[in-house]
Structure formats: C-alpha cells, structure tokens
Symmetry: C2
Subunit: 167 residues, 2 copies
C-alpha cells in the first residue's frame, strides 16, 4: 500500500491551483545572486568557492556549482582551479549585465516570442496581450540592464540591499 507523494501533490495542485511560475527560474535566481555575491568579494580581492557562494546566497551547493559552470563558460565570471582558486570577477567581466545572466540560464523566452505561446510574436498578427507585453518587456529590459553587476554588488556591500535573509 504505497502511495507516491507526487500523486497527492499533483491532485492538490490541480485542485487548489498552486503552480509557481515566476519571472525567473530557480536556477536563474541562484545565478543572479551568485554573480552579485562574487562581485562583492572580488571588490575586496577575494576569490570564492562554490561552497561559500551557496552558503551566502542560501542555495544548494551542488546545484549552485552546476550553474557556476554555465556562468563561467559564458565568461560572465572567471574561475581558477586548485588551491587558492575559485570564482571571481574583474574588469574583463564588467560588460555583462543581469540580462546576460538571465539569458545564459533561462534563454531569451522572457524577452522574445509570444507570451501566450503563439508560434510567432508580431505586431502584424498580435495576440490579445501583445502590445501590453511589449510594455512589460521594456520595463524588464530596463530592470536587467540599468545597473552593472558591480554597482549591484556595491549596494549590497553598503548594506542597502541584500542577497539572503537577515539573521
């Protein structure tokens, strides 16, 4: 008499309508916080390991490590193996914005394509939400390009913003 918990959750989810789609995937959230955290430490000339990053942004270490691989491959941050190694960011990474981070992990479906899933998004054959979606996307674009990663990190260092719950 075994019942999978997935079954119950599946039913409950449909029954109460409890899905959870958000602006960003979980992976992208971790990515954004990771990059900002790396910048806060690089501004003080410290390289940081996946374990430390995970701990400071309250994310699972192994999963964070996977995400860091993608960010490194995309050159959004740098990494060095071995003792005294770790992740870091310097002027060679300063040109990247949050938008690049989001695109690296989630692709560009937040910025491109029809929000209602039509095969193409166009002004000539718009879906009912198209023109409003364009406005939302303008705002999203601004949100993800207005400040440099370094600026965002400085605000965290100053204590004006935070990457994890305060204890």
């Amino acid at each position: 008499m075994y019942v999978t918990s997935g079954f119950f959750l599946g039913i409950l989810s449909l029954y109460f309508g409890l899905n959870s789609p958000q602006m960003f995937s979980q992976a992208t959230k971790y990515a954004i916080k990771s990059v900002i955290y790396i910048w806060t430490q690089s501004l003080e000339d410290r390289k940081v390991g996946a374990k430390e990053i995970g701990a400071n942004i309250e994310a699972p270490e192994a999963f964070t490590a996977k995400i860091l691989q993608l960010l490194t491959k995309a050159k959004i941050v740098g990494s060095i193996k071995g003792p005294n190694g770790g992740f870091f960011a310097d002027e060679s990474h300063a040109k990247y914005t949050l938008k690049d981070v989001v695109k690296t992990i989630d692709g560009d479906q937040l910025f491109a394509g029809c929000s209602l899933g039509l095969p193409r998004c166009s002004e000539k054959n718009p879906c009912p939400l198209h023109f409003e979606v364009v406005k939302v996307r303008t705002e999203i674009d601004h949100m993800l390009t207005a400040k440099s990663m370094k600026q965002l990190a400085v605000e965290v260092i100053k204590g004006n913003t935070r990457l994890a719950e305060l204890v």
Copy 2:
C-alpha cells in the same frame, strides 16, 4: 541497455542552458486563451465544449478540460453539463480580469513575494532587484487589468488580435 530520454535532456539542458521560464505557465496560457475564446463565442450566444476550445486555441483537449475545471470552480466562466451544455460567460462573469485568471492557475507569485526568492519582499530589506521589480509589477498589473475579458474577445472577433496561428 535502456537510457531515459529525460537523462539526456537534463544533461543537455544544463550543458547548453536551455530552460524555459516565462511570464506564464503553460496552464495559464491555455487558461487565458480559453477564457477569451469562450467570451468570443458567448458574445454570439454559443456555449462551447472543451474539445472545441482546445482545437481553437491549439491546446491539448484533456489538459484544457482540467484547466476549465479550475476556471469554472473560480466562477470565472460558467458551465453546464449534458447535451447543449458547455462553457460560457455572461454579465455575471464580466467582473473578472486576466489577473484573476492568472491567480487562479498560477497563484500570485508573479505579483507578490521576492523575485529572487528571499523569504520576504520588503522596501526595508530589499533584494538588489526590488525597486525595479516593483516597476515591472506595476506594468504587469496594468497588462492584466486594463481590459475586460469581453473587450479582449471583441478585439479577437474584429480580427485585430488572434488566439492561434493563422492558417
């Protein structure tokens, strides 16, 4: 020697960074299109079945039917069983907006809570994106409340917008 395709996709997805999070879940996209489609037909005094809805919004019938159950339970549309039955919308449903549709299926995580996943979203202890997120949400709110479902349906009837790819 069997290998699950999920495995390969999982690896590929991490390797190439191919997640696909969007503004709305697939279920919500179907829900939005369903409600607008129901309104287009109700404006011409036709009740419609799940099969017809699925066909016209290019969504799987059975999944659409599940979503319609939630929409009906939430009173966003009406339904009648049996011959000549189906889904419909009338003045008693006119007060609902797209925001209600989204909330019914996806909950309010698009509108509330920290976009970066912090335990709470507040101006006093904001995450690095908080103030920009507030602006994006204002625009999202406008997008989902500016027009009534009926208005959106009228635009589809007029041919100004569409719910499926044109053939």
